[in-house]
C-alpha cells in the first residue's frame, strides 16, 4: 500500500539539499576521541585504573625499599625485568578490561549508542574513535606505572635507570596493549550486555589464555603461536642478556621420564602475534559492530 499526502510535491533532489555537510570521517574520529577521552578521564573508571596502578606501584616501592633484595637491585636490567616486565602485563590487562570491556557493549546496554547513531557518522568512525580513546586512556595508566618504576630505578641506580632496554620494553608493552585492546573490543562487540563483555574479557585474559596456552603446549604439543598470552614474555626480553631458546625439550626427572616440550616466542614472532591479534580482532570487532542492530 503506497501513500503520498495530497499536498506532496515534486521529488526531492538530494544534491539540492540545504543540509550542512558533516566533516570527513577522519575529522569525526578525532572529534569523537576528544569527547570519549573526556568521558573516560572524568569517569570513576579512570580513577579506579589510576588507583590500581598507584597501589601496585606503592606495594612494589614499599617491598623493594624494605627488603632491598640483592639480586633485584644488582643491575637495572634485573630490576626492570622482574618488576616492570612482571607487572606491566597485569596493568595492561586491567586497563584493557576497564577501558575496553564495555566500550561497545555499553553503547547498547546503556543506550548511549542511540545518542551517537542518530548522528551523521559511520559506525567505523564510532568504533575507531572509541578504540583510540580507550587506547590513550590505557596508555596514560601504562605510562603512570612506568613512571613509578623509573622513579624507583632512579633512586637505586641514578642515571643508570634510564636505559634503552627499558624504552624497547615499553614499546613492546604498547604493542601488547594495542593487541589486547583489539581483543577486548572484539569481545565487547560480541555482547550487548556490558557485564558479560567485561567478565569474558577479564576471565580470558587473566586465566583463559594462559590455561589454553598450557593445554596447547603440554597436551596438544604444538607451539601456541595463536594465543596472545604466548607473545607477552617478549616484553621482558630487552632485559635478558640471553634470549630464551625458541624450542626446548627436556625429560622430567632425568632420562626415561616424560618428555616436556616448551616454546618461547622469538622477538619477531612475538611482535607478529601481537600485531596479528590487533589487526584481526580489531577488524573482527568492527565487522561485528557494523552488523549489530540497535533493536
Amino acid at each position: 500500500m503506497g501513500a503520498t499526502a495530497p499536498a506532496a510535491m515534486a521529488a526531492a533532489d538530494p544534491s539540492n539539499s540545504g543540509a550542512r555537510r558533516s566533516p570527513p570521517s577522519y575529522i569525526q574520529v578525532l572529534r569523537l576521541v576528544r569527547y570519549q577521552l573526556r568521558d573516560y578521564l572524568m569517569s570513576r573508571r579512570f580513577i579506579l585504573m589510576i588507583g590500581i596502578v598507584a597501589i601496585l606501584g606503592a606495594i612494589l616501592t614499599a617491598v623493594v625499599g624494605y627488603y632491598r633484595p640483592a639480586g633485584l637491585l644488582g643491575t637495572s636490567a634485573n630490576f626492570y625485568n622482574q618488576l616492570w616486565a612482571g607487572g606491566v602485563t597485569i596493568v595492561i590487562i586491567f586497563a584493557g578490561v576497564i577501558f575496553g570491556g564495555d566500550a561497545i557493549a555499553g553503547e547498547f546496554q546503556n543506550k548511549t549508542g542511540y545518542f551517537l547513531m542518530g548522528l551523521p557518522i559511520r559506525r567505523a568512525t564510532v568504533y575507531t574513535g572509541k578504540y583510540i580513546a580507550a587506547f590513550v586512556s590505557a596508555f596514560v595508566a601504562l605510562t603512570a606505572f612506568a613512571a613509578i618504576l623509573v622513579a624507583n630505578g632512579a633512586f637505586y641506580f641514578g642515571s643508570g635507570a634510564f636505559t634503552v632496554a627499558f624504552g624497547e620494553s615499553f614499546l613492546l608493552a604498547v604493542v601488547y596493549l594495542l593487541a589486547l585492546l583489539g581483543a577486548t573490543f572484539l569481545f565487547s562487540s560480541l555482547f550487548k550486555t556490558s557485564t558479560y563483555a567485561v567478565l569474558v574479557v577479564a576471565v580470558m585474559f587473566i586465566f583463559g589464555f594462559s590455561i589454553l596456552q598450557t593445554v596447547v603446549a603440554l597436551i596438544v604439543k604444538i607451539e601456541p603461536w595463536f594465543i596472545i598470552s604466548y607473545a607477552s614474555p617478549i616484553i621482558g626480553y630487552p632485559f635478558d642478556p640471553t634470549i630464551p631458546a625458541h624450542y626446548v625439550q627436556e625429560m622430567l626427572g632425568g632420562p626415561g621420564g616424560p618428555v616436556v616440550q616448551t616454546w618461547n616466542p622469538t622477538y619477531i614472532e612475538g611482535i607478529l602475534i601481537m600485531l596479528g591479534y590487533f589487526v584481526f580482532t580489531a577488524v573482527g570487532g568492527l565487522l561485528l559492530f557494523e552488523r549489530e542492530e540497535f533493536s
Binding site: 499526502a5 533532489d13 551523521p120
Partner: protein, 315 residues
C-alpha cells in the same frame, strides 16, 4: 532548494517469523508535522530505527531528502535531527558538552556553536543546567537534553520517537510549542506518539500503522471526515440524577441523537450525527427540556474515534 522529504519504499523488517514492518511505502514531503500513530508493537519505533539506520531492513529502502539511508547513512542523516528511544548521554558530560559534541560531529562552525547550544537548551528550558553533569539528571531532564541535541544544528527533518516520553505536563506542552515553532521555520517533523490530543494539536497529517502495515496516511481533516462518517460522541453531566423515562423523552427524542449510553446516575454519553451545529442544537434542546446541564463536551476526539475504529478493525 527542494522541500525536505522522507520516503520508504517496500520497507520490511522481520525478526525471525515476526514481521514488525511490512512493505511500508510512504512519502512525506514539505514543511509540516506528521503524526505517526499506532498501538504498542505496531512497528512505529522499528520504522523510525530503519529510517535512521539503527537497524537494517529485511527488504526495501528508505530515503531522507532523497538520499538512501541504507547506502549512505552519513549523508542521509546530515539533514535530520533524531530522537529515538530516549537515549542516554555519557554521564560525565554536561548538556553543553554533549551538545557541543553533536555540533562538532555535525560541523556546526565553532563561532556559532555556543549560541546554538544555548538557544537549544533555552528552548527546552535546560539552560540553567547547561554545565551540570547529565548523570545526575532525571529521565525528563535527559529527554529535554535529547530534544535539544536533535535541534542544535537546526535540521530540515526531525524524526522523533514519542518525544514527550518522561516529560511532565509542562514539558509536553513545551514539546508542542517547539514543534509548532519548527513548522513555522519550514521544517518537516515526523513524530510517533501515543498521545492523540498532542497529535491533533500539532500535526497536519497522520499516518496510522498497525501490525507493521500502513493503514492510512492523509491530512488530519481528510482522515476524520473520511472515517468518522459524521458521527461524534458527547458526554453530558447534570446536576441531579436523571431517570430512564426522562432520558427517553428529553434526550433520545432530540433530532441528532442516535443513541444514549448511561455512564452513571447523572452522566450520559450521546452518540450523535452531524457536527458542531448539531451539538449546539442538542445542548439547547437539553436546557430547554429543563435539564440542568453542567458539562457538555466531546467524549473522544475525532482522531481518537478514527484511531480506535481502525485499530479494532485491524485486530
Amino acid at each position: 532548494m527542494s522541500p525536505p522529504s522522507i520516503e520508504t519504499r517496500g520497507l520490511t523488517k522481520s525478526f525471525g517469523n515476526f514481521t514488525a514492518v511490512d512493505t511500508l511505502n510512504l512519502r512525506v514531503e514539505g514543511a509540516k508535522c506528521v503524526g505517526f500513530l499506532g498501538p504498542n508493537g505496531a512497528g512505529k519505533t522499528t520504522a523510525l530505527k530503519l529510517l535512521t539506520d539503527m537497524i537494517f531492513p529485511t527488504r526495501g529502502e528508505c530515503f531522507l531528502n532523497g538520499v538512501s539511508v541504507q547506502l549512505n547513512r552519513k549523508r542521509a542523516l546530515e539533514a535530520a535531527g533524531v530522537l529515538i528511544e530516549s537515549p542516554e548521554i555519557y554521564p560525565s558530560l554536561t548538556p553543553f558538552q554533549a551538545l557541543q559534541m553533536v555540533a562538532d560531529l555535525r560541523n556546526v562552525p565553532v563561532a556559532e556553536q555556543k549560541g546554538r547550544i544555548m538557544t537549544s537548551l533555552e528552548e527546552v528550558k535546560m539552560a540553567d543546567w547547561a554545565h551540570k553533569k547529565v548523570g545526575r539528571f532525571s529521565k525528563g531532564m535527559k529527554q529535554r537534553v535529547n530534544i535539544a541535541a536533535a535541534l542544535v544544528h537546526d535540521p530540515e527533518i526531525l524524526l522523533l520517537d514519542e518525544p514527550a516520553t518522561g516529560l511532565d505536563p509542562r514539558g509536553m506542552a513545551e514539546v508542542r510549542d517547539i514543534v509548532r515553532g519548527l513548522k513555522k521555520r519550514n521544517r518537516l517533523i515526523f513524530m510517533s506518539s501515543h498521545i492523540l490530543p498532542e497529535v491533533t494539536d500539532v500535526c497536519d497529517e497522520v499516518a496510522l500503522i498497525n501490525q507493521g502495515k500502513l493503514l492510512f496516511y492523509d491530512t488530519l481533516d481528510n482522515v476524520t471526515a473520511k472515517f468518522s462518517r459524521g458521527q461524534t460522541s458527547v458526554d453530558v453531566s447534570l446536576t441531579t440524577a436523571i431517570t430512564d423515562a426522562e432520558v427517553g423523552v428529553k434526550v433520545e427524542a432530540l433530532p441528532s441523537v442516535l443513541r444514549v449510553e448511561r455512564l452513571d446516575g447523572r452522566r450520559l454519553r450521546l452518540y450523535m450525527s452531524g457536527g458542531p451545529l448539531e451539538q449546539a442544537a442538542a445542548l439547547k434542546g437539553l436546557i430547554d427540556a429543563g435539564l440542568a446541564v453542567v458539562a457538555f463536551q466531546e467524549a473522544k476526539s475525532a482522531l481518537e474515534e478514527v484511531y480506535l475504529s481502525q485499530i479494532s478493525r485491524g485486530d
